[in-house]
C-alpha cells in the first residue's frame, strides 16, 4: 500500500515538474516542487471558499455579510458542500504527498516543549534537529487530517439529511463547527507564519525555492540533509563572511578619508 502510494506520488511529482518549472538560483534550495505547490493552492482556494460559505451559515451575524459573495443564502447553501468536497479531494492528494515528511518524531516533541521560546523569538536559529517540517507544522497538518475526516462524515450526514435520523444533523452540526473552529485557529497561525512572521517563506509556495540562509535558520536538519553541510557551520561561516566584508568596507572608507585629507 505505502509503496504504491509512494510510486504514485513520485510519478505525480515527475509529471508536474515536466509541465511546470522551478528555477533554483545560486544560494537557493528547492523547497516545494510544482506538484506540491499546485496542490497547496488548490487546497487553499477550496478551503477559503468553504470557510467563507460555511461561516455565512455559521452565525446570524455573518449571514448578511458573507452570503452575497456567493449569490445569496440558497446559493451559499448549495455551493458549500461542493467547495468542501473539492477541498477533501485535493487534501487527500496532499495528505498522500506529505505523509512521509509529516510523520511525528522525537525532535517534534522537543520542538513543542520550547514553543514559547519559538513564539517570543528567543532563539535566532532553530535547534539542529528541526527537519523539513517543524512540530507546529506537523500539528497543523494532523489537525487538518482530523478536521477533514470530521468534516467529511458530518458533512455527508447533513447533506443527505433525509436518509439519516434527524438527531444526526443536530449532533453533526456541533462537530462540524468544532472542526471548523479548529481549522480556523490553525489557518490564522499558518497564514501569519507563512507570510509576515517568517519573511522568505511565502516564496517557497509560489516559486518553490528558499534561500540557504532561510533553510539553515528555520529547518537546519533539512538544510543538512539536502546540502550535506552542517547548518550551524554554514551559519557561522556566513556570519564571518559578513563581518569580513564589513571590515573591508570600513577599511576602504578609512583609506579614502585619508586620501582626501592629503
Amino acid at each position: 500500500m505505502s509503496s504504491s502510494v509512494e510510486r504514485f506520488d513520485e510519478r505525480a511529482r515527475r509529471e508536474a515538474d515536466r509541465i511546470g518549472t522551478t528555477v533554483v538560483r545560486r544560494g537557493e534550495l528547492l523547497r516545494h516542487p510544482v506538484y506540491t505547490r499546485v496542490l497547496h493552492w488548490l487546497v487553499a482556494i477550496t478551503f477559503v471558499l468553504s470557510l467563507l460559505s460555511g461561516f455565512a451559515i455559521y452565525s446570524p451575524w455573518l449571514y448578511r455579510f458573507l452570503t452575497p459573495i456567493f449569490g445569496g443564502g440558497a446559493m451559499t447553501r448549495f455551493l458549500h458542500p461542493w467547495f468542501g468536497l473539492f477541498f477533501e479531494v485535493f487534501f487527500l492528494f496532499q495528505f498522500l504527498n506529505w505523509l512521509t515528511p509529516m510523520v511525528w518524531a522525537q525532535s517534534d516533541r522537543r520542538w513543542l516543549k520550547r514553543v514559547k521560546a519559538y513564539t517570543t523569538n528567543e532563539d535566532k536559529i532553530e535547534p539542529a534537529d528541526v527537519g523539513f517540517f517543524n512540530g507546529g507544522q506537523k500539528i497543523y497538518f494532523w489537525a487538518i487530517v482530523l478536521s477533514g475526516v470530521l468534516f467529511l462524515i458530518t458533512g455527508i450526514l447533513m447533506w443527505f439529511d433525509d436518509i439519516f435520523p434527524r438527531w444526526f444533523v443536530a449532533v453533526s452540526y456541533v462537530i462540524h463547527d468544532l472542526a471548523a473552529l479548529l481549522m480556523l485557529a490553525g489557518f490564522i497561525i499558518h497564514v501569519y507564519e507563512g507570510t509576515a512572521a517568517a519573511p522568505g517563506t511565502f516564496r517557497s509556495m509560489v516559486s518553490g525555492t528558499v534561500s540557504e540562509r532561510w533553510a539553515w535558520t528555520h529547518h537546519p536538519a533539512w538544510y543538512q540533509a539536502v546540502t550535506g553541510r552542517d547548518a550551524r557551520e554554514s551559519y557561522e561561516r556566513e556570519k564571518r563572511r559578513q563581518s569580513d566584508r564589513e571590515r573591508a568596507v570600513q577599511e576602504w572608507e578609512r583609506e579614502q578619508d585619508g586620501r582626501d585629507q592629503i
Binding site: Y63, A74, T119, D161, V169, A196, A198, P199, R213
Partner: protein, 307 residues
Amino acid sequence: MSNPQVFQIQEISAHPGPVPGKGTQRAVQVCKYIDVTTCIGCKACEVACVEWNDHPFRETTFDDTYQTMPSTEWNYWNLIKFAEDERDGNLMWLMRKDQCMHCEDPGCLRACPADGAIIKYENGIVDFNQNNCIGCGYCISGCPFDIPKFNQKTKKVYKCTLCSDRVGQGLEPACIKACPTGCLHFGTKDDMVQIAGLRAKQLQEHSGFANAGVYDPQTIGGTHVIYVLHDINNPERYGLPKAPVIPPSYTYWKWLAKPAGLLMAGLGVLAVFFHRVAIGPRLPQPEQPAPIESQPDPIEAKRKEQP
C-alpha cells in the same frame, strides 16, 4: 395582519354614557384545540387543508392502516394518525390530527441560520417564508414533532401555517371549518386552555378516563395547538413526545458557543497581528546588513562631531 387595537374607539362626540368597549384588552395569542376523544377520523380536515393551501393531489401510501400516508409531507400538512391501542382488553382506536404544533419556543426557528426564513407572530403562529429559505434542513432536525418537510424540487422546507392567511383576516383555519364533529376548536389561547380543561375534567368524571388531560407541553413553553388526550401520562401512545425539547445544538451551542468561537477567532487574528507589531518577524540568520542608504551616514556623523 390587521391590527384591531388601532381602531378601538376611545372617545365619541356628544355621546352620553360610557364609550362602549373602551379599555377592552384583546387577547392576541391564538390556539387550536383538538379533542381527540371526539375525532372520528373522517379526514375532512386533511381535504380542507389541501384545498385551502392549493396543494396538488398526491398519491397516498397504504400501510395496513387507515392513515393516508406515514407522515406529513411538504404539501400535505394535516394528517390524522391512526394508532391501535388496548383498553380493558378491548381494541381502542386512537385518532390524532397531526400538524405543526406552533410551539411557543419553536425549535425550527432556533435552528434556522437564514435571516427571515422562519417567523413567529405575536399571536403565536410560526410561519415559514420560503423566499428566504436556503434549504439547509436544520429546522427539520430542530423540530421535536418532525413537522417541517423538504421539497427536493424547490429545495425549500414547508409546513402548516395555521392558516396565517385566514387568521389574519379574522377567519378560523381551514381544518377547523371543515370538522363535522366539533372536535376542532379555534380561539384565544386562554379560552382554548379553559375549554380543554373542562373537557378533560368531563372525561375524568363522567367517561371513566381518570388520566384524561390537556397536552400543552411546557418544556417548549407550551404550544399553540393543544390536545385533550384520553391518557395524558402516555402521550407516546398518540405519537406525541412526553417532554419535547429542542436539541441543545440550536440553543446553547448556537447562541453561546458559536459567538464565543467567533470571538476567539477574532482575538486570534488580533493576536498574530500584534505579535508582528510587538515581537516582530523571525528573519533568516545572519541578518543581512541594512542597505547603505538606511545606515547612518558617516560623513554626516563626522560633521556633527566637528563644531
